[in-house]
């Protein structure tokens, strides 16, 4: 079974994971899992949390 076949199979067996796997898929290659890109994406997600709350504060201050 190839990588892609296995991933398709997991998506079918575990539909609740399908969306998450779709996001991971571009990071999976013959060299394994691209941790660096993944960690950058997670870091961006964390910064977005900060930015969202910062925007909220600005709106309040302006109000």
């Amino acid at each position: 079974m190839t990588y892609n076949e296995w991933i398709m199979q997991v998506k079918e067996d575990r539909p609740e994971l399908a969306d998450f796997i779709n996001k991971l898929e571009p990071l999976i290659s013959d060299s394994g899992f691209n941790s660096t890109k993944f960690e950058s994406a997670v870091e961006r997600g964390l910064k977005k949390v900060d930015a969202d709350f910062s925007d909220e504060d600005k709106i309040i201050e302006n109000a």
């Binding site: 079974m1 394994g32 997670v42 949390v49």
Partner: protein, 808 residues
Amino acid sequence: MLKIKKIEIENFRGLRLPVHLDFYKGKNPTSVLIYGRNGTGKSSIVNAWEWFNNSDIASLNREGVSASDYPHKASGGKDCYVSIDFEHPSIQTVKACFDSKKINTPIISGRYEEFKLLSTYPNYLRYADLQEFVYKTKKERYKYITRFFGLEKFGLLQETLQKSINKQLSSLQQYKSLLNLNTAEITPMTGTTDVDENLVIGFLNKIASKYGIPLISTFEDAITLKTALEKIVQDNPVAKELSEWTSFQSRQNLFYPIDSLTTNCSNLENVFNTLKIDEENIKQLILSELYTLSIEIIPKLDDKSTCPVCDKKFGDDLLVHITNKHTLLEILNKKKEEFDSIKVLLEDDIEGLSKKIAAIKSEDSTTVLSQFSPFFSDLDTIYRGLPNLSSILKKQLKDIDEIVISNDEYVSKIDILRVNETLSKKVVSDKIEYLSKDETNKNLAQDYSEVDKIIYSYKNFRINFAKVTYLQDIHTNMALFLSELTTYIQATIQSTFNTISTNVIDYFNFLEGSNQFLKNPVLKLMTGKDKAVELEIEFVSEKVTPAFKFLSESQVNSFGLAIFLAAVKHFNSDFKFFILDDVVNSFDSFKRPKVSQLIATRFSDFQILMITHDQIFFDTVQRDFPSWQRYKFTSWDYATGPRFRLAKNYSEEIKEYLLEDKPVTAGQSLGRYLEWTFGVLNENLQTPLRYKLDNIYTLSEFYEPLLKRLKDKLKPGQRHHILLQKFNEFEQATIFRNYCAHWKNEANAFTTDEIDSLFEKWLQIESMIFCGDCKSFISLSSPGGSLEYLRCNCASLDLKIESNYTEA
């Protein structure tokens, strides 16, 4: 069926000029045997094959060799290629050329994709791979299995995913800790154990109602409430100052206690100065692990005087030399470890102190700043000095010339702050006590301080809560995905092993047939561990796990080789080809012919590239497989790469000398061959031989006991045995007896005809005692205990059958 016709490699690793390996003799596919001493470029061929298949060489990658190092240095990356001619209806020539512009993507020509569909599983095994299987951990063994079961990419994904999950988990724990801190700040004010927005709003409204400030319904309005309360405080100078001191007191309590850096700085200086004395040896610390490994390996080597790393002979006791070097380095290594551990302590101190200073420096009350101006001035000095210390700690030991830090101003300022802790705390508490004399002012200041604190803490709580939820969600999904992957790998390993286990057991039992107590090895996944396999063996009918309790290293090698061969046979059914690179080096010398016999009996339909640096094994294989192409790599140099030639086996060599009318040289080759063959036969027949201390024998001293043994065991009685008749002719019709005693003496002039006749007669005898199917000479055995046989391993040659006897 895909067959290899020719492999051509140029400018790859140690190969400079084109190397051609022919896998066809006439119109027939065959295998290739390569012999060469270490360092003659043999392994570059396996590397080239791996690169051709995977565009990558994993073992070199692990050693830090990048793809840019694959081409031969003198080629400058040009004309570096592997080209393979195949015998196949559609796949003809496939070529992979190194591309210096895209070093990880070779330029491919030919039907490569079609080839890859037939060559899906790894079909090359190096000596180092087997060593990993034998010597390394359960985890390494798991890697070995995943690789040869076609799961290498899945295994790699599992490993890299696991690393990412671990990192995410660590990040998640950090945010959970921060969230706990926020909770610990909020709950004493709300008087609850959990944090909830309504509780925070309730707390704020309670204070607001005391001062007639409009109540709020969402946390977003909290800032309005705080501004209104702040205005009340500003209108009351005492309450304002009190709230500023109370706020500073909170910061002060978070700042203290602080650690002194003086002791760790002094220790670092002292250890550094000791290390600096041994500067030259520090550069050798990198070799420490190599020495450790050598100490383990040297006692296991047959030749204990040759360095296992550089292959050079060492005059004295190599093990003692390596042990002494290792001991010296170990002492130095301990010092280096001490240096590193002090560095880690200091780095932690700096990090902690920097955070504390940054927090307390954010003080904005002009009253506090002016009253504590010496304190804040010292903080500035320290804050500016710490990066200097950090930059020293980040340097490699070899790059540091000197360390003089313990007397730096910022280090002593830290100690001043430590000494003043009690006093400065008292100043603040006295201020607060004085300003708190008026109860109204005191309550106003305290309320403002709490409003400020709960808003700040709850803001952080919301951010950290969102981050924890975000990371937790990722972690849960990643863990589920990894769990699916692990389940798939484990199920595939187990089912694959079950599928090939008959062959694994067959090959193992074949290689280890001399030990009847150990048999039937089984691979078992360790329950509860994601990446570990264990070996089980049957020892006197009892199953034993781990098998290492009873298996020798050589037997584990047999297991590793059996798994590889069974996997190759099972998976690559459309491309029957594999490479064994020096793997027999892991086997005891008496077991090496077994490898050759295993290949002969189980892999006769395969093409094989066998690489060895063992001359005796080369001779064994070339005798067992006379139709194989044989190459001898005689030397290597930078400008040309390996020098090699087609090698002849004994038979071809003798015939050629006879054709060239060189009877002396032909006679000497034949003598060497007979000496070796008589030795094998005497061993197989358990012939009693006279032992000679000077270890100098003529052929007669091997031949006479052999003949007597054959006569004893064949027991012709009144009948004739066809083999003994052949021996009789051998002696009568040739100059054999004279030759036996004098073949080593070049002065004895045997004629070409005499040697030719001797050789032909011997070949007739050999055809009766050497089995071309299982590649074994006859041997003495009594499997049932009573009947005694003289037959080959596969029993197709059986000397004691009736048809071999004639009436006298």
